[in-house]
Symmetry: C2
Subunit: 206 residues, 2 copies
């Protein structure tokens, strides 16, 4: 298909498609006889991925680059691919003394739950950062205080991990992880905010 059709089907403006091309996020189309670039369904799929990551997930172009580099790295095993893609979805945490305070607590929490998580996972630092920040308002938050949330999240994550088809193609796997991680995360947090509004309203007698 021509770039105009690609734009129409993906909902991404032509100039933005060209920008993604220049940034190396989207492979070149094949040149047709008329010396025009021809795009395939793979290009459409890639554009949908970029659009979901940037538009809904709020990821930076740098993070999108990491996801796509993982996708295009054939040396990675399926599990590594899932890991790299998933890790790329979180910003690199800034390192500081502040942050380290709760990292120990997060590691203790992971041991308590028996969750096997790479100690350098961005989620570990993200959680430690959040606990440190909550601590400045409410005093220190320990591993035990996370139990209620973990009890809710554990069966959900187990179900989600179980729905990944490990025999699928690399493209499908990455789509799956990206959609499963970034987009369902937005679903989860927006549901939480709506439910909070409902119960606050009820409590305020409104």
């Amino acid at each position: 298909m021509r770039i105009a059709e690609l734009s129409e089907r993906s909902g991404v403006p032509v100039h933005t498609i060209k920008f993604y091309r220049r940034e190396g996020l989207l492979p070149a189309g094949t040149l047709s006889a008329a010396n025009q670039a021809d795009y395939s369904e793979d290009h459409l799929r890639r554009l949908n991925l970029i659009r979901a990551l940037v538009g809904v997930g709020g990821l930076s172009l740098q993070q999108v680059h990491k996801v796509i580099a993982a996708l295009e790295n054939d040396d990675l095993s399926t599990f590594q691919l899932l890991g790299v893609a998933s890790y790329a979805l979180l910003p690199d945490p800034p390192l500081g003394a502040e942050q380290r305070r709760s990292v120990v607590e997060v590691q203790r929490f992971l041991e308590m739950r028996g969750w096997r998580v790479f100690p350098g996972s961005p989620a570990v630092f993200q959680l430690a950062d959040a606990l440190d920040a909550i601590g400045t308002f409410w005093g220190p938050i320990d591993a035990e205080a996370l139990t209620g949330y973990a009890d809710v999240i554990e069966p959900l994550a187990e179900h989600e991990a179980g729905t990944i088809d490990l025999a699928a193609s690399r493209d499908e796997l990455v789509d799956r992880v990206v959609v499963g991680t970034v987009l369902w995360e937005v679903v989860l947090t927006s549901l939480r905010r709506m439910a909070q509004e409902h119960f606050s309203r009820t409590r305020a007698g409104l």
Copy 2:
């Protein structure tokens, strides 16, 4: 206290404090006899708030401005203050034809659950956006598909809304909403990612 102490106690560098001052996010200190600005515990509290919103929550300065404008607007009732602060924590959704597809489905979902949520709530558009994006990968997502997530989130949000002390001061209320909404959201999503990693690892036999 002097600006150096404010910086040390908050962990925010002096030049960043000055930047927040210029941006109007932090009120001026009182001038002491020596013609130096003197800062109070209120300034420290405000800095902790800004730091949590920007640093951990990833909010833009524009969003922080909205939260602080709500906090300083004495015409707002407690419930309105909670609402405005909570709404300010989500970016204004871009409007587009794409988006509207799922808005109807979100409204149907809210009716199904009996959640009373303002139809213009940013969370409504955020959810609709996410559903549209998921739809481009997996086909249309209907209200029924959200049941599993909503069942998990509902008791959590009810508990969270129940812990807000409506008789607290405005400053405390806003701190509470910000911490409760933004920071615990980060806790929730990082727990989910860690649990997903654990269960993916287990499934892959690693």
